[in-house]
């Protein structure tokens, strides 16, 4: 069975008073209500509720939403625990309002055997402060040659399969994986890249790369692979999920495939929604070097539009920690990736919701219900009888992004920027997973 794992923690008994509740799925559009949580379960939602011995939290001026779900995180465990481990990664998630995250398998060793997967699930049961699921690789060692034992890994709790960090290069191999994944009932999550078009790439190919002399990653380096894989999925009638879509051309392919009835879900990162390749001019790889790269403003606008209209189903951070010293090198020598769990919602809120581009309810759908649905997980909801999986936000607070971070790494695309909207408390799986100092009163 599918398995998200979280450590045992004391269930919360709280009366959260006077927050504005926003949860589209539950028909809540901002009424100011009290929410009583008893033994980790939402026991009552109403006005002037009695604490019944529970700790009271004055949430006047705050907003309560379902907890967020991230379908794309790198926890660097096993193998690179100095960059991130399950404890630090899930604390970072909780600090960003996430109650569930799915971790990618490109670790060392790669999660391609039951032994490695079991080890991770055991560690998560000891350390994870939010529900954590693990992808297994599609191919052994991410080498694109042999399928992993998918049925066994699914039975042991893999939430899906992904060779993220690398594409499944051969069309024939992807076809076999799609055919077999239908037996397992788990989705493939694909990193879309034609390596023959992206060899040596340092940033988006366009006006800025022409000027900076950095080798370009053209939009077609992503979109031709998206097009290929959507055709294979359509032919096989198999569902699939596409990671970190960055190019307008890819959005067009996905939109068309959805019209044709292909069961595709797709994700986009906060940095691709909020930033462009202009940021690369500073040549600070800790902030602006990732794969796929930050693209043009036209691409960014297409992504925002696609998130609003549902062509893109969910936001995934692609949280990718790196050792500080590995990013303190010349731009061309640095590895790809930025961290994003702690800033995901605030970045999207600041850049998409505040300017009126995407309504808050839509953003919440794409950051909670959408990703949960894409992977067959129960969606967090602010409803009586549900285990409490919720976040409390001060949507007016402007705050300066770290360092410090809850993450072990600090290669954040939004580092040093001022963002609006801060998570003050996260209750995950019925337990308090994050609490800003100011709220603890």
């Amino acid at each position: 069975m599918m398995q998200l794992t979280q450590r045992e923690a004391p269930p919360a008994d709280l009366l959260i008073k006077g927050a504005r509740l926003v949860d589209g799925a539950s028909g809540l559009e901002g009424p100011q209500l009290d929410v009583r949580i008893a033994s980790g379960v939402i026991a009552e939602v109403g006005s002037s509720l009695d604490p019944a011995g529970a700790e009271m939290i004055d949430a006047d001026g705050l907003t309560m939403t379902p907890g967020l779900v991230d379908p794309h995180v790198h926890l660097r465990t096993p193998g690179d625990e100095d960059e991130e481990d399950i404890a630090s990664g899930t604390r970072a998630a909780a600090a960003g309002g996430f109650v569930a995250i799915l971790a990618m398998p490109n670790t060392s060793p790669v999660v391609d055997s039951a032994a490695v997967l079991n080890g991770l699930i055991t560690r998560a049961s000891e350390q994870a402060v939010v529900a954590t699921g693990f992808f297994a690789a599609i191919t052994r060692g991410l080498e694109g040659r042999e399928l992993v034992d998918m049925a066994e890994l699914a039975a042991r709790g893999a939430v899906g399969f992904s060779d993220d960090g690398r594409p499944v290069e051969r069309a024939g191999m992807l076809r076999r994986a799609l055919q077999y994944s239908s037996v397992t009932g788990r989705k493939l999550s694909l990193h879309e890249e034609d390596l023959t078009l992206t060899a040596g790439a340092q940033m988006h190919e366009g006006a800025v790369s022409a000027e900076l002399g950095l080798h370009g990653y053209p939009s077609i380096g992503e979109s031709v692979m998206v097009g290929r894989d959507l055709q294979i999925a359509r032919y096989e009638g198999a569902p699939l999920h596409l990671c970190h879509i960055s190019a307008a051309e890819s959005v067009a392919e996905i939109r068309r495939a959805k019209e044709l009835g292909v069961a595709v879900t797709a994700e986009v990162s906060p940095h691709h929604l909020c930033l462009t390749d202009e940021l690369v001019r500073d040549l600070d790889p800790a902030v602006s070097k990732m794969s796929p790269p930050l693209r043009s403003d036209a691409d960014r606008a297409a992504l925002v539009e696609a998130l609003a209209d549902g062509t893109l189903d969910c936001v995934g951070t692609d949280h990718a920690p790196h050792r500080a010293h590995e990013k303190e090198v010349p731009f061309e020598a640095a590895p790809n990736g930025v961290i994003g769990l702690e800033t995901a919602f605030a970045a999207v809120y600041t850049n998409l919701v505040e300017p009126g581009l995407v309504p808050l309810a839509t953003v919440l759908e794409r950051m909670s219900t959408g990703p949960a649905r894409a992977f067959g997980l129960p969606a967090p909801a602010l409803r009586v009888g549900e285990v409490a999986n919720l976040a409390l936000w001060d949507l007016a607070e402007r705050w300066v992004v770290g360092p410090p971070y809850a993450s072990r790494s600090r290669n954040c695309a939004f580092g040093g920027r001022t963002l609006q909207g801060r998570c003050t408390m996260t209750v995950a799986g019925g337990s308090v997973a994050h609490r800003l100092a100011e709220v603890a009163r």
């Binding site: 190919e205 006006a207 002399g213 040549l283 600070d284 090198v329």
Partner: protein, 332 residues
Amino acid sequence: MDLYPPTGLARRRHLLSIGDLERADVERILETAEGFESVMHRDVKKVPTLRGRTVMNVFFESSTRTSSSFELAAKRLSADTVNLKASGSSVDKGESLKDTVLTLSAYDPDVIVIRHPQAGAPALVTRHTDAHVVNAGDGKHQHPPQSLLDLYTIRKALGQVEGLQVAIVGDVLHSRVARSNIQALRLLGAEVLLVGPPALIPRDAAAAMGVTVSYDIGDIAEADVVYVLRMQRERMLEGANYVPSLTEYSALWGVTPERVQPSQLVMHPGPINRGVEIAAEVADSASSRIVDQVRAGLVTRMAVLYDLLTEPTTRGGQAALRAVEPAGQEVA
């Protein structure tokens, strides 16, 4: 030269990219270089201007012209120089660029001149030193000192840069010189035409850099200056097939005697590959300014060091000229 490091360090002027300069900055440096010409014609070719200052040349990539001329430029100005090459240093022992810079900065250098195969290395250096940083070439990104010497050479030969048409021919994609020069030439009012194989001209170059693009070598006929680039095979990805062969390249884009006229200036940043991007007859012709470029490199580099180490009080070269003029101050 208005790019300052973000925080923590002393505010310093650097020369990282021509894009950071204004026209007045370039004019001032060229005027200063002009002033240093007189020093070149003296018996004792040395002035005390930068006595007691330290210039460190840190080269992570091979170089003949740039490293020797920066060393000589510093010495002509009486600065102390330290030359570090990547091989034979602690870099071979795995030291990171950051640690190398922290180490060298402990000696309080006034200027660090750096060449590095990776774009962004000089920007990284500014984040870890209090010295002024000069980018002497980083990857395919920028090579500002080359642009200053090229502008100087063109001005010497044709009087001014404004209004000229300059054709840059060849492997623009891998050329930091081309990127710096496009910005520099446009800053001083020249028009730039890029000519070369499609795969070696950056996509969006016209829109991004305000140039005209052509794949036809015949289009260099109208240019006042033909600036030839080397095919930079060492920077090309293996198996990339930018052109089928060097023979094809030479046939279609080689600068041969039939393709240039005596009235056109021919320039090349060096090293040249005779018979590939430029015919030997052209390189040795009266139109060629290749040796003048090397000579211009010395005075323009002196001007760069001088400019960084003196706060310019006026724009346009007055301060520089005053400092050079006083006679009898040469150091023996």
